[in-house]
């Protein structure tokens, strides 16, 4: 689960990592008040869960109240790379003397935690890594080790912090690690970790986290009161929310063929088969959603799943792909018929069953004599048929 910058800052603040004073605002009136309170110049920053917002015009400097209001009016209605702006963070503008980059993340390959850092910040770390790979340091913290201030000092030196910054950098590294661990984060990134202050006054200089990105481990929600403090109902997809309430994994993909299956891999594979069929047939038909009914799903779960998928007005056909391991195809078949009953009709449904009770499931479907239910033996055939039907319906409408 990704956090907005203003939420990430809260977690840094809780650990005592220095951040500029800032206020979250959601309309131009609040922005004006925030800017007045913080003083000028200040920065107005779009709150979106996507990178490169600066290049998209989502970050503006304001020297006066009027400029702050203008910035708010420009930024608040924006959609950046498909993400609607959720509000703005108004922050004190700082005089930046130097920029560092530091992140801690789960390293899937080495199966521990990765500290990625560069003393040559200022641009995207990926670009620095490409052009000056030697400038980007990659260090590790392991689960069994005790990462203390001594280890943090060694790390700050290894990263190449300027001598004058090493002590404060070590403190920040240690606090970042606590922030990462205590919050069950999968990523804590400070970019830039800036050296700020008056260039002529050594005593005014210090390190400050000007921007931060934090992702949290959804699996650890049970240790953190379900992450309720970071809930974002406004920006949740209504279909995804409804599916989540039923404990189903659903991802809205905005195509025409609804896809339901058991097991994440099989459902992903089914999506690929539908897209492939759309390409083969030259129709551009795409999957409407990912929906995994999980292992051992009951008729009830299948019924609910089909209702959610069919409530998406973009859906023209549904592809149900079940390989029965623990899941019984018989139960799935009953769920399909129950859903159609409740909905008093349905869009065309293409079914492919294999494995546990596949024959019984297919018999139940055949006996229903429902003209909207089509049966295929392989997932490839089923995907082709579902894509063909969706394309025909669309063409009929056009």
């Amino acid at each position: 689960m990704d956090l907005y910058e203003y939420q990430a800052r809260e977690l840094l603040d809780e650990q005592g990592i220095p951040t500029p004073r800032a206020i979250f605002a959601q309309n131009s009136h609040e922005v004006a008040e925030a800017a007045d309170a913080l003083g000028y110049p200040c920065v107005v920053k779009a709150q979106v869960k996507i990178g490169h917002r600066g290049q998209a015009g989502g970050v503006k400097l304001a020297r006066t109240r009027d400029e702050a209001v203008l910035a708010a009016e420009q930024i608040l209605p924006m959609t950046i790379h498909g993400h609607k702006v959720h509000g703005v963070l108004v922050a004190e503008a700082k005089n930046i003397l130097h920029e560092y980059y530091v992140s801690i993340s789960v390293d899937r390959s080495s199966r521990d935690f990765d500290v990625l850092a560069t003393a040559n910040g200022g641009t995207e770390v990926e670009e620095i890594a490409k052009e000056h790979p030697e400038a980007v340091k990659r260090l590790h913290i392991t689960s069994l080790e005790d990462f203390d201030i001594e280890a943090a000092r060694r790390m700050a030196n290894a990263i190449g912090f300027y001598h004058a910054d090493v002590e404060q950098a070590a403190q920040i590294l240690l606090k970042m690690w606590r922030c990462f661990k205590d919050n069950d984060a999968t990523l804590v990134e400070i970019n830039p970790l800036a050296k700020i202050g008056d260039p002529d006054d050594e005593s005014s200089k210090s390190l400050c986290a000007l921007d931060a990105k934090i992702s949290l481990d959804g699996n650890a929600a049970f240790r953190h009161d379900g992450w309720r403090r970071f809930e974002d109902p406004v920006h949740e997809d209504p279909f995804e929310r409804r599916a989540n309430e039923h404990g189903l994994h659903y991802v809205h993909l905005h195509g025409e063929v609804g896809v339901i299956g058991n097991g994440a891999g099989l459902v992903m594979s089914s999506l690929d088969a539908v897209s492939g069929a759309g390409e083969d047939q030259g129709t551009g038909i795409k999957p409407a959603n990912f929906l995994d009914i999980g292992g051992g799903a009951s008729a009830e779960v299948m019924k609910e799943s089909l209702q959610i998928v069919l409530s998406d007005p973009q859906v023209e056909s549904v592809f149900i792909n079940v390989y029965g391991g623990i899941t019984s195809c018989e139960q799935v078949a009953e769920g399909i018929l129950e859903a159609i009953d409740v909905l008093e009709g349905s869009k065309p449904i293409v079914v492919r069953f294999d494995g546990n009770a596949a024959a019984e499931g297919l018999r139940i479907l055949a006996e229903s004599r429902n003209p909207n239910i089509h049966v295929c033996t392989t997932m490839e055939e089923a995907a082709q048929l579902a894509a063909r039907i969706a394309a025909d319906v669309k063409e009929g409408q056009a």
Partner: protein, 308 residues
Amino acid sequence: MSTFIEDNAPVIVQGMTGHQGMTHTARMLKAGTNIVGGVNPRKAGTAVTFPGARQGADAQIPVYATCADARTATGAKASVVFVPPRFAKDAIVEAIEAGIELIVVITEGIPVADSAYCVELALQHGVRIVGPNCPGLITLPSTPDGHGVNLGIIPDGIVPRGPLGLVSKSGTLTYQLMGELSDIGFTACLGAGGDPIVGTTLQEALKVFEADEDTRAVVMIGEIGGTAEQEAAAWAATHMTKPIVAYIAGFTAPEGKQMGHAGAIVSGGKGTAQDKKEALEAVGIRVGRTPGQAAAFMREILEERHIV
């Protein structure tokens, strides 16, 4: 020769007395797995009856307070973990410290920090973890009168013994490919798991299959997220003498969306199915466009090499 674990190896089940544990212990017993105990401190000293589960006869499975007790009493070599996420770390650590050699973790939803801790501890102790968030491990008996080991939730009876090995990040795609190649047969099928950090990676499974003389070719099923497929490809390029056929799921997955499995996510443009496919093909591993095509590629290779 047996793969991952010897035939008839004694097995305990952690979380046996829960709903999932009961269902699958009965199933594993029916598949011929030598289950010798369960672990639950609150029910220690009791026994659970699984009617008709051992070749038609009732199976009485004793419950022990700890893994250490269970191992002392039974000599268990492997454990299957069905314990809920919030207790899983303690259960796995207990199994590692009790000297269990192979720990198969079925539980979905374990925090990644807990998995990282367990995997590191296991590596330190020379213990193999399979999973978490996986369907388990099934081995087919290496002798006619031996019993294979069914650890987890993989359905029994899909495949006979044969020359193939299989490793997969996905449960149902495992069954799918087992089904497609059921006439050829397998030595072992291992669900590596769909979490970001797992105890046995694709590469580590390849290593076991490469060392196993009865395994002649390997099916590898990957999905979006991370770089386990690329690492497996790089390793295979220089170490693997046996042919591999791969399948990758998730070409249509959008950036930043978790597709069911905690580990199945493309982030920052990394972990795409296309990248994985290219890395595999670059070292000469054929990648099926569908599971069916992957199975067809495997048949071609087996024929070319006169394996079947």
